[in-house]
Symmetry: C2
Subunit: 406 residues, 2 copies
């Protein structure tokens, strides 16, 4: 398994493009993305658990039931949620792409991200489709343009691709995602589009996507909010020519392993690019009674505003970590818990058996001054572990979200 | 029922004092508070649900079982939690006060608030008790001094008192509290000490305290963190001479009504003084199927970082309000929801039937520019309602918590 260039264009038979169609007239950045497979795909998706679901989520939840999928059309700038003509504009967007590509409407999956409550300019999007089609390319640049077109407050593009072997054939998975604020591990928590040339049945694809999501996007938190638009999609066109994966065999394991790696890479990049973030926080909870429990404990720590603010201040205030474990809802013996902070600058043990240790404050400052900080928690009660990712809470988070609409 | 001066000293037979004993040597503010009843009291308490419980919480959970209580001794600066000698110092503190007052150890309830993981200077506290006793007074100044002694990042004292009638007698309730960060409606969420001269049985006092807490401290949020030290105590000495309240009769109702009013006043003041807060947010959820559901929905809104940041930015980004309702865990029809923002500057409807309304952005800015902002949500599905309180998320919250220990 090796990391390669090309994002969603790395798998055979996929093309992508991005452009500026003017959804937010005063912001001259790409705002419309298209990903197309030359041949029909098996598809799987996961969607927000928010009761308030944006029109594109409702449309995709129907379309994903269709036997095949062919394309994904997504915009940034406006979320197409809770707006007077949201469903109408979503369907218009879907139909415009289907007509231009000569495929069924239900073969087009759509996505939107941005401000809630405003009407999407469906006409602008429909009018832009011919130009977008003309820009489609299987070069890495196509994935790049698409990745930038779904960014909102993101400061970096999130794009990865992997090459690996399945049944003697070379197979690829590529992915792009956007996500920076409103990130929380209740669901897919962002837009993420994955492509693969692996041949795999719909059932196996669904299972792999769900499990990989549980181990990646469900383990990150920026601010505890879950959006109305969260969507995670994968299109598999089988162009790699491997024997179609129909059951949980070695081939499935190879595919799942690669899918998990790419979703974790995208998830970590989203946490690192959390709105205003200065630090990526990796919280590792080990020697725990079960993985599920370790995950709940880890999520409580990365979700704690006070812990996040302490990391921003590079302050080794481990009491807040223990406190966040304590209100996680899980039962444990506080007098068994050890806590350390670590980074490339070193490791510093701050709490053993639930009690504070004397430690070198200067070294602690250095450890926490690094961009990537690890909170290493040993529960000393079992063998299981889980890793979760988050970011610090900074002035810039408040600034970015204090005036998002203007 | 009328609001009066005097805080915890307003009820007959109570004295209080506060002083600087030097728990944080470089911070010259009151750090030790004492509240004493001349006669033995019936007492009730509520404590943090955090698995990690500070030594004073563990000590109080035992002491509150004792038939009578006489005094409360509390410090700020160090939380006396997860420190090498936490239990030892807590017991020393309790015994020093009991010996000086000539009462049983279990008649002294204690409390601590501040940094987790550091040892409390138990000797300094014990040495300060004689001076603290000499300062005890039933004047309002005693309550003032005690209220300031439990403040940490609080910027204002929280102190109220009420006078009302029970069984033909004039009765009083007084209270002081501290709380500004690490506030969330999972429990008592702070230190709060209440006194009353009402005669009331222990069972009735417990019931009234729990219900009042549910309608006040359990309905505020600053940052979603629950501390290790949360404690809510009430001492009732019966000095008002009313027939002892033994059941849920009119006298109980009068007492409960006053207790609820004072706990809500303290809770609102804590939310208003949330760390770094510029706005008090009152979220009213009405025409809901049940009060419990309205409460869950309201708490989700006041707990949303994105909504809090939008209010800081005075940005009428109602989509975040609808979104927070949607991930609350409650099921409802988004297409029935109406949302308005209100303040002394006016009321502005922003969403009807789950869809955005065109509204005057200039008026919206004016409405949200006021210190106290109301988010008024109609679910249009029933008759019940609940009100919750929170505050905005500001640069100063991050600043205060980025370097709390130093």
């Amino acid at each position: 398994m090796k990391w390669i260039e090309g994002g969603v264009c790395a798998p055979k038979g996929f093309e992508a493009a991005g452009m500026h169609c003017g959804i937010r007239p005063n912001r001259k950045k790409n705002d419309l993305a298209l990903i197309v497979s030359k041949t029909p795909c098996t598809a799987a998706g996961m969607f927000t658990k928010n009761i308030v679901k944006a029109a594109p989520v409702q449309i995709d939840q129907k379309a994903i039931q269709y036997p095949t999928a062919h394309a994904i059309l997504a915009n940034s700038g406006i979320a197409n949620a809770c707006a007077p003509h949201d469903m109408e504009n979503g369907l218009l967007m879907q139909k415009a792409a289907a007509d231009a590509l000569g495929i069924a409407c239900d073969e087009v999956l759509i996505g939107s991200t941005g401000v809630i409550g405003q009407d999407l300019p469906g006409d602008k999007i429909a009018a832009a489709i011919p130009e977008l089609l003309a820009k489609l390319t299987s070069d890495a640049s196509g994935s790049d343009e698409a990745a930038s077109a779904i960014m909102t407050t993101d400061t970096v593009k999130k794009e990865f691709a992997l090459e690996f072997e399945v049944g003697g054939k070379t197979v690829h998975i590529g992915g792009i995602s956007k996500g920076s604020g409103m990130i929380h591990p209740n669901m897919g928590t962002m837009l993420c589009y994955l492509t693969t040339d692996c041949a795999i049945s719909k059932d196996m694809l669904k299972k792999a996507l769900k499990d990989a999501c549980d181990a990646s996007f469900h383990r990150i938190s920026v601010d505890g909010d879950t959006s109305t638009n969260d969507t995670l999609l994968i299109l598999a066109n089988g162009e790699a020519g491997n024997p179609c994966i129909q059951e949980e065999n070695d081939a499935y394991d190879a595919f799942y392993c690669a899918l998990k790696a790419i979703t974790q890479a995208l998830a970590k990049k989203m946490a690192r690019d959390g709105e205003g973030a200065k630090h990526l926080i990796t919280c590792k909870v080990s020697s725990c009674a079960s993985e599920a429990k370790a995950e709940v404990l880890g999520k409580s720590v990365i979700g704690s505003s006070l812990t996040k603010a302490a990391i921003f201040g590079e302050d080794a205030n481990w009491g807040r970590v223990l406190c966040a474990l304590g209100y996680s809802g899980e039962v444990f013996d506080p007098e068994k818990v050890d806590i350390a902070f670590a980074s490339t600058a070193g490791t510093i043990a701050v709490c053993a058996g639930g009690k504070g240790l004397a430690f070198d404050e200067e070294l602690a400052k250095q450890v926490l001054h690094e961009d990537e900080v690890i909170i290493d928690i040993a529960m000393n009660e079992g063998e299981a572990e889980a890793v979760c990712w988050g970011c610090d809470l900074t002035y810039d988070y408040v600034k970015i979200n204090g005036d998002y609409r203007t």
